[in-house]
């Protein structure tokens, strides 16, 4: 069968070709290497694809303008499918082989699992995970959540419920709906405590699978407890499943969704079920009128004409903008420690207006306490108001 032999030969040739391509470009003296971990194929790929694109574009943008401190930035990208063991392997590779100076991390399960390694290796780790467990520098000195932490977000939600509640005959009833993973669970314990503290009745908690196809049974249980508000903590591509099932079952509960669960795509994904749903917005939406948007959009249009993105793309840019600034502040020979100091010197740092100004200190790694409340109205997402929560040290690391 010469057929099969041909096939084999081709296999070998293609293999050699690909391996050849894979050989690391040697002798790139003076390049600053940054690890880039993303999920493109897993349950959070709705975020990952745009985040990866945003990071890559932003790095290219800065490199075209001479890099940082005269040196170019090289992103070492690894796709990990939201699988923590694969993230650990990628991290080891970043640190031991590529000798990166910092890592742009991704999800909560992997970032939380990596905490001991990150602290030991002194690698600044700017993560897409905003888990409150990463905000206390006394425990995780090198973890930097890249946005308003989940614990602050759930406190914003509970404060909102408390403030808008007018019925004096009873306390407001709330429920938490969250994904069955470390990300979904991250703010829940703090949420329980805070609800008790401010006098909001937490009547139900519904756990939904990470990859959600149907939420009917959870919502039927929740319906019996009849919460006035429910907080949803999962991803943009799974939230519409909850909203649609809730619409179908005729629940009266008002929903508030965390930052990764709602964005400009939600009205389209959930159609009429999205009406009146609220959410917490951490970054500017695609094309929104903020100071840096024009530069960013012009650059994007030049390189990918006709392509559009959603807010995760802004996060990609945001974290590169922050990294570039931190490395700039770290000086000519950036190390993990000096970049950490660079990040901790952020005081009302302007992120091109993509977010409220960011500040990190060596006592508090919560970048901001401000966000915006948004609501879906008439098939569009509209901004309701700016909200903030007290920077209470009691909730740090929780």
């Amino acid at each position: 069968m010469s057929h099969a032999r041909d096939l084999l030969v081709r296999f070998v040739l293609v293999g050699l070709f690909v391996v050849g391509l894979g050989a690391p470009p040697g002798g790139a003296q003076g390049v600053i290497k940054i690890g880039n971990l993303v999920d493109l194929t897993g349950p959070t790929s709705d975020q990952g694809k745009d985040i990866a694109q945003g990071r890559i574009d932003a790095v290219q943008y800065f490199n075209e303008r001479g890099g940082v401190n005269g040196r170019k930035i090289e992103l070492i990208s690894v796709e990990y499918g939201f699988q923590p063991p694969r993230a650990v392997a990628a991290y080891k590779r970043f640190v031991e082989d590529d000798k990166v100076v910092m890592v742009l991390g991704y999800g909560t399960p992997d970032t939380e699992a990596l905490r001991p390694y990150i602290t030991k290796d002194k690698i600044p780790y700017l993560s897409g995970s905003y888990s409150g467990h990463l905000t206390d520098p006394r425990q995780t000195p090198y973890n930097f959540p890249g946005g308003i932490d989940y614990t602050s977000q759930i406190r914003i939600f509970l404060n909102y419920v408390k403030e808008t509640w007018t019925d004096t005959s009873r306390k407001p009833r709330v429920a938490f709906i969250y994904a069955d993973n470390a990300y979904g669970r991250a703010p829940i314990e703090a949420g329980r405590l805070y609800a008790k503290e401010i006098g909001v009745d937490l009547v139900d908690e519904e756990i939904i699978p990470t990859v959600l196809t149907d939420a009917t049974s959870q919502l039927l249980t929740m319906k019996k407890k009849d919460p006035d508000y429910a907080y949803i903590n999962t991803n943009t591509q799974w939230v519409p499943v909850v909203l649609k099932d809730s619409y179908k079952l005729g629940l009266k509960t008002k929903y508030v969704v965390n930052n990764y669960g709602i964005d400009e795509r939600t009205p389209k994904l959930a159609a009429e079920a999205a009406e009146g749903v609220m959410g917490i917005q951490d970054v500017a939406y695609w094309g929104e009128n903020v100071p840096g948007m024009k530069t960013l959009m012009d650059y994007h249009q030049k390189h990918h004409p006709g392509d559009t993105h959603a807010s995760p793309y802004m996060r990609g840019w945001l974290w590169v903008i922050m990294s570039v600034e931190a490395i700039k502040r770290a000086g000519d020979n950036p190390t993990g420690e000096s970049i950490k100091k660079g990040l901790e010197s952020f005081k009302d740092f302007d992120t091109w207006g993509i977010t409220p100004p960011f500040s990190y200190t060596n006592e508090d790694h919560r970048p901001t306490n401000r966000a915006r409340l948004v609501m879906v109205k008439g098939g569009k997402i509209v901004q309701m108001k700016e909200v903030s929560v007290e920077r209470d040290m009691k909730w740090i690391g929780k």
């Binding site: 690909v18 493109l40 194929t41 690894v78 080891k92 031991e96």
Partner: protein, 347 residues
């Protein structure tokens, strides 16, 4: 002068190595592996470690599926049991690693025994569905038995310690894994030269006929499950020590399918096939990833595009192998070797 392989005794027929060349080859390979950590980067060591683990797991699955003909899609569950047992025995029970690992493999064997019972009545597709149940029961247990497994939040595993030496780097774990891959391979290879192995093959070829010949289906089918899950338990325990982080998500049904693909691509009912399949299936995504990473300089979107082609390439590979070489990489290897043996005087 001898111009072919003339065997005059059963002993000669049973020999693993026909000539000196393969013995030299195997010894050279083992020596090469022994010095690898001196040269390899962390990344490649990580890949090699995963290959080693996959080899043990694939050998186990091949014993069950390839040699005994009992289709199982519960392999990920057995891996998970092995991994979690090792971790729990070490973290909660405080057992040293060198006791925890074999004990975990024994526990996994017990699991295999229980979930192998349906095989006494079920065959083919029906058995596959029964083992699917094993998968879902196990993963449900891991996710919800939080006091023991820490559920979806995952479990941290401390580095293994042997004689006071912590296996905390990839290089050290590499030695541990290959110290187990070699005996696991030789055990499996020898198994099929024994009465037990022959009984497995007889069951695969026709279980009724095997029963008529005096092969106890009851014993041997269950034994195949026990042996297979022992291997899986071992592989799982090594996984726990390799990544040092255990999450239920690491043992999805896709993992079981990946292992089935390994033995199909490598070659069903072949020890060499299990090894080839494990190497191929572990390397392919890495090669794709490396290609994608190096292309990002030229074409920034390549990273995203290639990452999502992994599954397509896998699917295509399985289809092509089933169509053109159902006996897998092992068969291709034999043919290539046969060609070179006679080269340049092939006729």
């Amino acid at each position: 002068m001898q111009s072919g392989g003339f065997r005059t005794s059963y002993r000669a027929d049973e020999r693993i190595f026909d000539t000196v060349v393969p013995i030299v080859g195997v010894v050279a390979l083992i020596v090469a592996l022994a010095v690898t950590p001196r040269f390899a980067t962390t990344y490649w060591l990580d890949v090699l470690n995963r290959i080693g683990i996959a080899i043990i797991g694939a050998l186990g699955l091949n014993i069950l599926v390839g040699y005994t003909g009992q289709i199982s899609i519960g392999h990920a569950a057995f891996l998970a049991v092995g991994a979690y047992s090792t971790a729990i025995l070490e973290v909660n029970a405080g057992l040293p690693f060198y006791l925890a690992l074999p004990l975990a493999a024994v526990i996994t064997s017990g699991f295999g025994l229980v979930f192998g019972i349906p095989s006494l009545r079920l065959r083919g597709l029906y058995l596959a569905i029964a083992t699917l149940a094993a998968h879902f029961i196990t993963t449900y247990g891991i996710v919800h038995w939080e006091s023991l497994t820490n559920g979806v939040l995952g479990m941290m595993v401390p580095p293994a310690t042997i004689f006071g030496l912590p296996l905390d780097s990839d290089a050290r774990v590499f030695y541990l894994i290959f110290a187990l891959v070699v005996p696991a391979t030789f055990f499996a290879k020898n198994l099929f030269r024994t009465r037990v192995g022959r009984a497995f093959i007889a069951i695969r070829d026709r279980d009724v006929a095997a029963g008529v010949m005096g092969v106890s289906l009851y014993h041997y089918k269950l034994l195949a499950f026990v042996l297979s899950s022992f291997y899986a338990g071992l592989a799982g325990g090594l996984m726990a020590h390799h990544s040092r982080i255990l999450f239920p998500d690491a043992f999805t049904l896709l993992v079981a399918i990946d292992y089935l693909a390994m033995i199909i691509i490598g070659g069903l009912g072949s020890i060499l096939g299990a090894i080839f399949g494990a190497v191929f299936m572990t390397l392919l995504p890495e090669v794709l990833k490396l290609g994608a990473t190096s292309l990002t300089g030229v074409y920034p979107n390549a990273f995203g595009v290639i990452a999502s082609t992994r599954d397509i390439v896998f699917g295509l590979a399985v289809i092509l192998f089933l169509m053109y070489e159902p006996q897998g990489l092992a068969r291709i290897w034999l043919r290539v070797r046969g060609y070179w043996k006679l080269w340049p005087y092939a006729y």
